[in-house]
Amino acid sequence: MAHAYQAVGWNPQKKKYDGALLLGVALYLAVFIGSGLAVQPDITAETLVIRGFGSAALLLLHVVLCIGPLARLDRRFLPLLYNRRHMGVTMFFLAFVHGAFSLVQFHAFGDRNPIESLFLSNTNYASLAEFPFQPLGAAALAILFLMAATSHDFWLANLTPPVWKALHMLVYVAYALVVAHVSLGALQAETSPLLIGLMSLGMIAVFGLHWTAGAREVEGDREIDEPPPGTAFVRVATVEEIPDNRAKVVCVGGERVAIYHYDGKISAVSSVCQHQNGPLGEGRIIDGCITCPWHGYQYNPESGSSPPPFDEKVPTFKVQVAEGFVFIDPLPNPPGTPVPPALTGE
C-alpha cells in the first residue's frame, strides 16, 4: 500500500514471479541463440542479439497485453496480473537492447549522427515495401520507456490513478507501432509463412481477448433503473444472490458499485480501487477487509477506508435490506465516509 515508498516492495510472491519471469526470458534467449547458430552457423553475434531480444520483447508484449483481459475472463489468471509491472519493465529492457544494438549495427558506422541517420537515412514513406520501419520501432520504444519510467507507485499516486491509467493506455498505441515496425521491417524479407502466421495469431489473441472481455463488461454495466418517485433507493439484488464474503457489482449513475455480503451484513462501496483502479467488486473479504484482486489493497467495507497506517479511501453508499432484497442510494458518499451496514437477519 502507499504508506511509504520503496524501490520494490519485495515479498515471496513477487520474488517467485520475477524468478520465473527471468528464467523464462533466459531460456527463450538460450533456445533462440542456440537454434539460430545451428541453422545459420555464420550468423554474427550482433544479429543474433538483435533478433533474439527483439522477438523476446515482442512475445512478452503479447503476454503483457493478454493478461488483463484473461484475468477478467478467468480468475485463475489473476496471479499473473499481480506483478505485471515487472513483466512490462522487463519487456522494455529487452526492446531497449534490441533497439540499441540495431542503432549501432545499422546507423553508427556512417558519417551521420546515428539518431539523425535513424530518422533520415530512409524517407521513402510513399512505398510500403521500403517504408522506413525503424522510426516506428523508435516511437514504440519511446512510449515503452515512458511507461517503464512511470511504472512505480510513486508516479501512480502523484499522477493520480486515472491520469496514470490514461498514460499507460498508450501501450496499445505502442503495440500498433510494433506490429507496423515488424510487418514493414523484418517480415518484408520473410519468405516462410510461419512468422506471418504467428504474428497474425498474436494480433487475434490480443484484440480477440480484449473484445470478449469488453463485451462481457458492457453486459455487466447495464444501468439499474432509476429510483421510484419518492424514494432515493434502488433495488439492486437479492441477499441470496451475493455469495458470502464476496460482492455483486452493479452499475448505478454510470459507475460500478460493489455490494459486499459478509458476517450477516451488506455494505456497498465504489468498485474502483484507489491503487490502479482495479475491480474491487471482484475481490473478497479477507480479515474483515475488502481485498482488491489485483494487488491486495484493502478497505473496511463500512467506511471505505484502508486500515491504518494506510490512507486510501473509496466512496461508500447507503444500503438497506428489506424482504430479502438489497437497496442502495445511487448517490455516493465522499470517500471514506462510514455507513452502517444493513443487517440481513441471517
Partner: protein
C-alpha cells in the same frame, strides 16, 4: 469516477483492432523479396567463377581481388585490385578472398586455379 476512462479504453481498442490488422495485411501483401535484378549491376554481372568462389567461402560480404604479389599477412597485398565483372587480367598471379564485414583476408590462391 472512471466510466469515461473505460469508454476511452474501449474506443481506443476498437479503433486499433481495425487499423492494426489493416496495416499488417497491407505490409504483408506489399512484400517483395529481393530479386537478383534489384542488385547493383557490378554484382549481378559477376562471372560464374566469382559467384561460386564467394558463395563457397562465406557469403555476400566476400569480395574477390587479384594481385601480382602474394599475401604475406592476413591483409591484402598493396597492389591488390577488385575483380570486376569476372575479368582477370593476364598479369594476375594471385586471387584473394577478402571479407568486408570482418576486414580480413580469408584465402589466397594462385590465379591459374580459377582461369
Amino acid at each position: 469516477m472512471i466510466a469515461r476512462l473505460r469508454r476511452r479504453h474501449r474506443g481506443l481498442i476498437a479503433v486499433l483492432a481495425v487499423l492494426t490488422p489493416v496495416v499488417f495485411v497491407a505490409a504483408v501483401t506489399a512484400r517483395r523479396p529481393p530479386a537478383r535484378q534489384d542488385l547493383p549491376e557490378e554484382l549481378t554481372s559477376r562471372a560464374a567463377w566469382v559467384r561460386e568462389l564467394t558463395a563457397a567461402e562465406g557469403g555476400p560480404d566476400v569480395l574477390v581481388y587479384w594481385s601480382t604479389t602474394a599475401a604475406v599477412t592476413d591483409s591484402l597485398p598493396e597492389d591488390a585490385q577488385l575483380v570486376l565483372e569476372g575479368e582477370l587480367p593476364a598479369r594476375a598471379e594471385f586471387v584473394h578472398l577478402f571479407s568486408v564485414a570482418h576486414g580480413e583476408l580469408i584465402r589466397s590462391l594462385p590465379a591459374d586455379e580459377v582461369r
